[in-house]
């Protein structure tokens, strides 16, 4: 049974988006993910942390907590902020919904597409917690073989 975790906090600065990608991908590489799956994790974490920078703390940088966990063959990623929260979660999840012409409104769509599970809990003026779960396809196949 494999277990590991890593918790870090950082300010919601654009430069920390790439840092969070590197950390999450390095941590995820402890599992049997393919390069393509690691790429998907990099995109998902990038979207989650970018949302903290753009939406959670639109005026001034605030704190972002990144919690990475491995339990057995599963990677769990939590991205937590104490920012302004999401007013309408269903609207935010709508593909191509964005008020900014330079943005495609695809962040949540990519997070849902590239991870096995994605859940969001959000409260206005209290913050948002995103949980993303992913298991290597090779582990899924080998567990099926055992049955």
């Amino acid at each position: 049974m494999k277990e590991n975790y890593l918790n870090i906090s950082f300010p919601s600065l654009p430069d920390n988006v790439s840092l969070s990608r590197v950390i999450a991908a390095s941590f995820a590489a402890q599992l049997d993910f393919t390069l393509n799956e690691l790429e998907e994790i990099r995109v998902a974490i990038s979207e989650a942390v970018s949302n903290c920078v753009i939406h959670a703390y639109p005026e001034h940088p605030g704190e972002v907590r990144l919690e990475l966990r491995i339990k057995d063959d599963t990677l769990m990623i939590k991205v937590i902020d104490e920012g302004c929260g999401i007013q309408d979660l269903d609207l935010a999840k709508t593909p191509a919904y964005s008020s900014d012409p330079e943005r495609m409104g695809l962040g949540l769509v990519f997070m849902e597409s590239f991870m096995d599970e994605m859940t969001i809990e959000s409260q206005l003026q209290k913050g948002t917690q995103v949980l993303m779960v992913k298991k290597p396809e090779r582990s899924k196949n080998s567990s099926h073989d055992c049955q």
Partner: protein, 112 residues
């Protein structure tokens, strides 16, 4: 991220090295808009992604923004040397409705 811009007739080719994300997309936007603003003769934009190792939705948004400028000039947006993982992002995003992928830069440059 490093950008290398080359002008060939009415075509502007931009080679993107590194990562196009929230942190780097403002520089991508301003550098290309500056070039397009200075030269109204430029009609088409080619993105060479050979050295691009990461793009997320912020980067895709920055690309879409440049399409909006180019399409006002009746130009075309083309990507060349697209790695497989980026091709998948382009497909998922719907960007391929407005951007063509060409296998080679030579082929992409035959636009006018």
């Amino acid at each position: 991220m490093k950008l290398e811009l080359k002008r060939n007739g009415r075509v502007l080719t931009v080679q993107i090295s590194g990562e196009l994300d929230l942190s780097t997309s403002p520089a991508f936007r301003s550098r290309i808009e500056e070039e397009l603003g200075q030269d109204q003769e430029i009609k088409h934009l080619i993105l060479d992604l050979q050295e691009t190792n990461f793009i997320d939705s912020s980067g895709l948004g920055a690309i879409l923004g440049r399409y909006k400028t180019i399409v006002q000039r009746n130009g075309k947006l083309t990507a060349v040397n697209v790695p497989p993982h980026l091709q998948r992002l382009f497909e998922l995003s719907g960007l391929l409705k407005v951007m063509t992928i060409c296998p080679s830069l030579e082929e992409a440059q035959n636009l006018d």
